[in-house]
Subunit: 311 residues, 4 copies
């Protein structure tokens, strides 16, 4: 499998971890999901992210999920290896890289403050996973309470050769993309691949600002693929027309706390997951919420015929 | 001016404070803005909120803004009186209520934790402002870092007769509205007027869940008025069609950190503000960001002919 | 091994996890440490706490540490089982209880807010570990950012029969102990065993307020045992005289961020640990800091002859 | 009055704001307090700090307090001017500097993150107050949730000539003092006066690490003066002997949430304040807590005969 690199482009879909009604990993759904992602043209997959419920999996379960997906697909796979200690991070990174992953993703611990300590944390992490393993900085302040300025990202990228990608999920973030691209152009830092998160909520403009694509888990990844393609074709109005059709659902899915429940519910209705179960503790959807999502899906289906519900 | 009460409905527009290029309050723009809000059919105004840059005004400036608006309009006016100490809160509440305000809004200090301390804080606040002054609970965890469960809101509403309204800005919040309405129906708490914030980003469903309207500062308040009216008429599809047309701009305006800059810029372009200046420290818009907003406005104007730009 | 119960008293020493210079678990030191704790008269041990670097151990390592200690001692052992998901919590709790632990300790996840969600979190946890397993609420706002009022602790204790102990580490906390004891006396909640943390920094008064003892990791646990015994004997001045002699060192050890480094260093100097290594990332002590600790130890040794340094 | 400068040394006592039983400012007690501070040999005073309940005073009240003290003493006076907007900060700084203050103190707003934004915030603040006004960086993460690394302090000191002093209140902080002094010695930043806070809890070692003194509000400021003098005389054991006698009370006073109540109570008992009233909302002392403080005072009086209680 090719390794992640600084020019990586496209959509890396963050896959949810499917569970059956008892909370056991549902490998059949995982196979189906993997096939689906491949069929819609994503450029890669991301496993064991926060929204993959990674912290609720044991080490062994996480490795099994990764191996299962790697057997099913030729797509590059990024694996979240964030952990409270470097020992666990190293163990997981070593295992998944040798299994064929293309890189790992590392989020900062939520008590990390000051630029110096952020840089130092990533230096330690890179030493732990091995300096030749490509890694992704996960920059998601809303969830991790850690803010990284463009200059701290530049310091990490300048210091650590393994740092090849930024999962950009800051908010607001458009100026951040522009700043990073300016710093690269000025020779102040090496180029990074920038893939954007936040459920895709700003992908229409993020691609215009210089992002290379998306790394997020929106329940209709076809949309993400299209937006990135339209951006490559410089077809601005087409990108926004399609984006705007999906925005009501994207916005609903992007609510903190219930987002994953919405995502799994839609994927269940699309026939990709057998169950929308989350491991506990986790927020579910009320009947009213499900009806609201159904209404949004029905409205969306009138504009995007690919949104077909099978259940 | 009628006081706020538990059945208050409609849209309370949160007015930005206009400044001229030097940071002085621009009372001409404030007059123009007040007239505009009245003309588009809002039910009331909210002054000295966070997004009114209230913390950057001196006490005297705040009072002048309120008196100026009260002289211009017959609409009910809610005034934000949040302060680190009850003495300042009491002073401002007394002054604006005697000037003709219809109620005050109180946000929790950002270090407040535990239900008991939240209830106790509001008890102290109500004692300070006077138990007959109607007040609004400002429930905005993303900004204030304080979360209030439905049960703590019920405790406040049961204890304090002045508590008549909830500015609902929790996230996710749809189930919270449903829970509160259920508790009211079960007789567990008195009815509260619920007006929703978050830039209107979920207003389409919030009204369906039982909210009485909106209290937010979206730069096209006509949309908020329409959504609330469609909801009253039970015209679901019309509400969503119109809402969806505005969502791309609403989403852009709702970015933490730059939201107010977007709002002031659009209001300047609509001819309502002479300048989009914020008092420092405050985030401005880059040329690229302004062009993005212009693009969104141009797209919106094709669907909503009221969005006319004069500058 | 007897189970934890509501009348449990004394000192539960929180044991650090010893590592050798390469970061491997040092079971010889763990044996020595266990023997030491037993010899100085503690009433129990707590393993896999935050300061036991539990998050840096794999599940298997954690279980090995627990089994090793249980083989060495007849003291009751409490095991920290906090985890992001209930599945991991259940797995660890089941394993250590069947190995002979006397109870488990559960900290709230750091994003938990509102009384209702705190209670609901512990309900889910109790269901996961089994309702007959005695558990300890770890109430440590400085570290976990979650505050629990006396009333929320009462709700948990009233609802969940397994809740038998509070690890009290709030700050300020003296009034909290008094409040809980008053609520118990008034019949508003069942009695809880209250053992205090915070490095013992307020143990002199906590015992006077009604605490049953300490659960903390101060590097001279003999002091904790003495304070609890003096409190039982109502020998107030003797307790404070001894306490005050240790306070300069306790205060130094209780600094957030370097506390564990101080603790391990002193325990190494006392001959209990072969190395003061922490797993990375972790803060070490500078040469100046070591000299400061040495100076404090020398001063303490003049007042408490048990503080003998062997290295 | 001489301006603050980079070599300023000694103890700057943070004065509480005295209130009478109704919450009005008690200027008689303020006079008595000012005289007392002068008589015990402090080098300066700090007014309108957090623990001076500054956020609970109106602008006019704050100015009156400062003018009152400046009329009573020749000591240099530092005034806290932290405010949500630069306009209020500028107004207060201008007023107190023209009244004779020696400098101002500026805390970062609690949402500030990233080194770049911290530096930029202080640049804006310095521009607002005037670049020739000496200012103190208030570095107090426990209270403000903002962490500043030595390198960010160096950037501020290198950029802004008005930055002459650091109120050091980080925790742990001993290594930070050493780091800053090393950076100064290496020519990486200009010398700063470093005065330490945290109630004096680490002053014994802070002076040894290179601090120039203390800026804190411990209720027995005589102790702070003595420690700084002993440090200047290199009389280490004498410093620690005296320090250790006070530590039990210092530690009790330093509890977050009730510290100010303890401080005001002791100052009342020492005859300095007529009342220990705080403006609401504020935490008071229970009868038990008062008795605990009395006990600590009685124990202390046996070792330090200056601690005389008059009420």
């Amino acid at each position: 499998m090719p390794l992640l690199h600084r020019m990586t482009q496209g959509v890396f879909a963050i896959a949810p971890t499917p569970f059956d009604g008892d909370g056991a990993i549902d490998f059949d759904s995982l196979s189906r999901l993997t096939e689906f992602y491949t069929s819609v043209g994503v450029s890669g997959l991301t496993l064991l992210g926060q929204l993959g419920e990674a912290p609720k999996l044991s080490h062994e379960e996480g490795v099994r999920v990764v191996r299962h997906v790697l057997r099913q697909t030729d797509l590059p796979v990024v694996v979240g290896v964030s952990a409270p200690g470097y020992a666990a991070m190293e163990a997981l990174a070593t295992e998944v890289m040798s299994a064929g992953a293309s890189g790992v993703m590392i989020a900062p611990p939520n008590t990390l403050r000051t630029d110096d300590r952020i840089v130092s944390y990533y230096e330690g992490a890179a030493a732990a996973i091995g300096e030749h393993v490509p890694f992704v900085i996960q920059d998601y302040p809303l969830s991790f309470s850690v803010e990284m300025s463009p200059s701290v990202i530049a310091r990490i990228a300048n210091t650590l050769p393994g740092c090849v990608m930024l999962k950009h999920e800051d908010w607001p973030g458009l100026e951040k993309i522009s700043s990073l691209r300016r710093m690269e152009a000025a020779g102040d830092m090496p180029r990074l691949s920038i893939l954007c998160g936040n459920g895709g909520l700003f992908l229409d403009f993020e691609t215009e600002r210089g992002a290379d694509g998306a790394m997020t888990g929106y329940c209709v990844p076809e949309l993400l693929v299209d937006i990135v393609r339209h951006a490559a074709d410089d077809d601005r109005d087409a990108a926004h027309d399609l984006f705007d059709a999906h925005l009501p659902l994207m916005r609903y899915e992007q609510q903190p706390g219930v987002g994953l429940a919405v995502r799994k519910y839609v994927m269940m209705r699309r026939g990709l997951l057998t169950s929308d179960t989350q491991r506990r503790p986790g927020a579910g959807l009320s009947a009213t919420a499900r009806a609201e999502v159904d209404y949004l899906l029905a409205r969306l289906a009138r504009k995007d015929s690919r949104v077909v519900l099978t259940t």
